[in-house]
């Protein structure tokens, strides 16, 4: 492969990986927007979404097949289920904590994450679960670049979800209410906006997006693991920070940027693949220190 081909391939890798990061990062950033919470459990919802998608697909594949159509149905049902799970988590665990000190709600979020992870661990005995589907390995060659159909479907699906979200947020009443709550929840309460409902919808959408990513990733990569949400949760948070936490376009951009940084970062001589995660976390820390508002985030007003 020529250097140009390698770069093109790594760009493609970054795009695919970045799509997953972006979908998960969106939920992070939306939830942070409305209740200012770093939802540590978000990455685990991605994992739960993958498992539910797998269970659904196993149940329906005899009827609809295990191809992209079956996966699409499984993904929708998984989104629905995990969306509700997100709402339930918010109601049970976070809602009573909204007025408590920030430390308490952060620890609660961590506890929720651990409960989800360890439930999956107990159910799977810590083993990997093979996600069987009928996806082929076909693709097209563009010059020196080989793109599989799976990659195309995946990136397109992620793009459609993100466009739909953007439309929802800018063109619907709930979407506008969501943005308003993100700016000033107290004021919204005074204006008669049902803030609790807006928070619920936000959790539903954010969790559903994570589930969509989880199902697609499970099918695309072919395996599921109880701990698979941890790393992507961290990476998605990094993506959200790079894009500017609280900003929806920022999360999309951040996901893609991080995907590309990782793919290209491992090409830098001297930084082998073993340093890839150190590279990502170093980027996270540097962004937080030097540009905490990220690429697209608005600067927060001075304190008080």
């Amino acid at each position: 492969m020529s250097l140009l081909d390698i770069l093109a391939h790594q760009l493609l890798n970054g795009l695919v990986l970045g799509s997953f990061y972006a979908l998960v990062a969106l939920g992070y950033t939306m939830i942070f927007g409305v209740i200012k919470l770093l939802n540590f459990a978000h990455g685990d919802l991605y994992m739960v979404g993958g498992f539910i998608g797998f269970i659904v697909l196993s149940a329906i594949s005899s009827v609809v097949g295990g191809g992209w159509f079956g996966i699409f149905i499984a993904m929708l049902l998984s989104m629905l289920a995990v969306g509700f799970l997100g709402v339930v988590i918010e109601r049970i665990a976070y809602h009573p904590m909204l007025s408590a000190p920030r430390l308490s709600i952060l620890i609660t979020a961590l506890a929720v994450s651990l409960v989800l992870q360890n439930t999956a661990l107990a159910l799977t005995n810590g083993q990997y679960t093979a996600f069987r589907s009928d996806l082929g390995f076909g693709g097209i060659t563009l010059g020196g670049l080989f793109i599989t159909y799976n990659q195309m479907v995946l990136v397109a699906a992620a793009a459609v979800l993100m466009i739909a979200l953007e439309f929802f947020v800018t063109h619907t009443q709930y979407g506008r209410a969501m943005r308003a709550v993100a700016v000033d929840a107290d004021m919204c309460e005074l204006l008669g906006i049902n803030v609790a409902a807006v928070i619920g919808v936000t959790f539903f959408i954010g969790s559903a997006l994570a589930a969509a990513a989880g199902t697609m990733a499970g099918a695309y990569y072919g395996s599921l693991w109880y701990f698979m949400g941890f790393l992507i949760g961290l990476k998605a948070f990094t993506a959200a920070v790079i894009g500017g936490i609280g900003s929806i376009p920022g999360a999309m951009l951040g996901g893609l940027v991080l995907g590309l940084l990782e793919a290209l970062g491992t090409q830098i001589p001297g930084i082998g693949s073993e340093w890839k995660d150190v590279f990502s976390f170093a980027v996270l820390i540097l962004v937080l220190v030097f540009k905490p508002t990220g690429l697209l985030g608005r600067s927060e007003q001075e304190r008080m």
Partner: protein, 332 residues
């Protein structure tokens, strides 16, 4: 643990909760003293009564007492969520490993180096991030924890993924600390020192400043408290506790590897702090005991061990945020 007889002090509520290991008995100094003496006596005879296996487990529990008390300064006193505490534990352990094995330094001389290295790491990580909103610290420390673990895995000086083994057991004034019982007593001393330091820190200008910043950053700042500096002091103090724990962990086990310093390790230490009751020294000790002795007593739990802890953590946060140890909640 002298009783407070200075003017204007009395047994003030927050201090009382922080200070005495038996704060519940704060009103009765004699009962408290008797309790402490009984506890110390039990510590001395435990290895003879319970046998070697129990000694090893108790040694591990005492290590967790030290680590949890250190993290308690960060989380319980200053209210900062640190999810990468194992990183400092690793700094201490690797400092000993590298200096004794690769450089040939005497074990006791590595102690100050470990302390300085941990403090420096604390300043480098804490300095910039403690200026930001406190939530960010959680995620930055998580990232830092992973960076330390992965770096240890990839560098030849840290023995890569296999880690370092053959770390020599130290001598102390002619006493070769070698058997599990020797280490048990060493860790007893360490834990007692950690408790004493925690008590003194809590009842001091700095200890109060941590609480001020934790309860109301703005008001604290308006009272002339430099919040970044005070938080940094907590973070670095915690780092030093962690590193000292790591130093003795390394000589006790004789071998260290990156997987001992994983995220799960950080979470277990955090659980010890929260389950027992953050900010309350006896609570933290209880938490460390639960986290270590619990799984040993309930071996049959097996796979469910962490799930049980996780559910416990969630229930504690929802229904009793002040932790298991009695004492009024700090949350509301």
């Amino acid at each position: 643990m002298a009783t407070d007889d200075r003017p204007g002090a009395g047994t003030t509520p927050a201090l009382a909760r922080l200070a005495g290991p038996l704060a519940a008995l704060a009103d009765n100094a004699a009962a408290r003293r008797a309790g402490i003496v009984a506890l110390l006596a039990l510590m001395v005879v435990a290895p003879f009564v319970f046998g070697e296996y129990a000694t090893v487990i108790l040694t591990n529990a005492l290590l967790y007492v030290v680590l949890a008390l250190g993290l308690n300064v960060v989380v319980g006193y200053a209210g900062l969520l640190d999810l990468g505490y194992a990183a400092f534990f690793a700094v201490g352990a690797y400092t000993v490993g590298i200096l004794t094995l690769r450089v040939g330094v005497n074990f006791w001389l590595t102690l100050p180096v470990a302390v300085c290295t941990a403090a420096l790491a604390g300043v480098i990580i804490g300095g910039p991030t403690l200026r930001l909103r406190s939530d960010y610290l959680a995620i930055v420390t998580l990232g830092f924890g992973e960076i330390v673990r992965i770096s240890a895995r990839n560098m030849s000086i840290t023995g890569m993924a296999s880690g370092l083994s053959g770390i020599h057991q130290p001598w102390l004034f002619g006493w070769h600390i070698a058997t599990p019982r020797d280490f048990y007593y060493l860790f007893c001393v360490l834990a007692i020192l950690a408790v004493a330091v925690s008590v003194r820190l809590a009842d001091s200008r700095l200890g109060r400043a941590w609480l001020y910043v934790r309860y109301d950053e703005d008001a604290a700042e308006a009272m002339g408290i430099d919040r970044v500096r005070v938080k940094l002091a907590a973070y670095v103090t915690g780092a030093i506790f962690g590193a000292l724990g790591g130093v003795f962990f390394a000589v006790n086990l004789g071998a260290i590897s990156p997987e001992s310093f994983s995220f799960t390790q950080s979470v277990l230490i955090l659980m010890a702090v929260i389950l027992g009751g953050m900010g309350k020294i006896p609570g933290v000790i209880l938490g460390a005991m639960i986290v270590i002795l619990g799984p040993e007593l309930l071996r049959s739990l097996g796979e469910l061990r962490l799930l049980v802890f996780a559910v416990g953590l969630l229930l504690i946060m929802l229904f009793r945020p002040s932790g298991i140890w009695p004492g009024r909640g700090r949350q509301q």
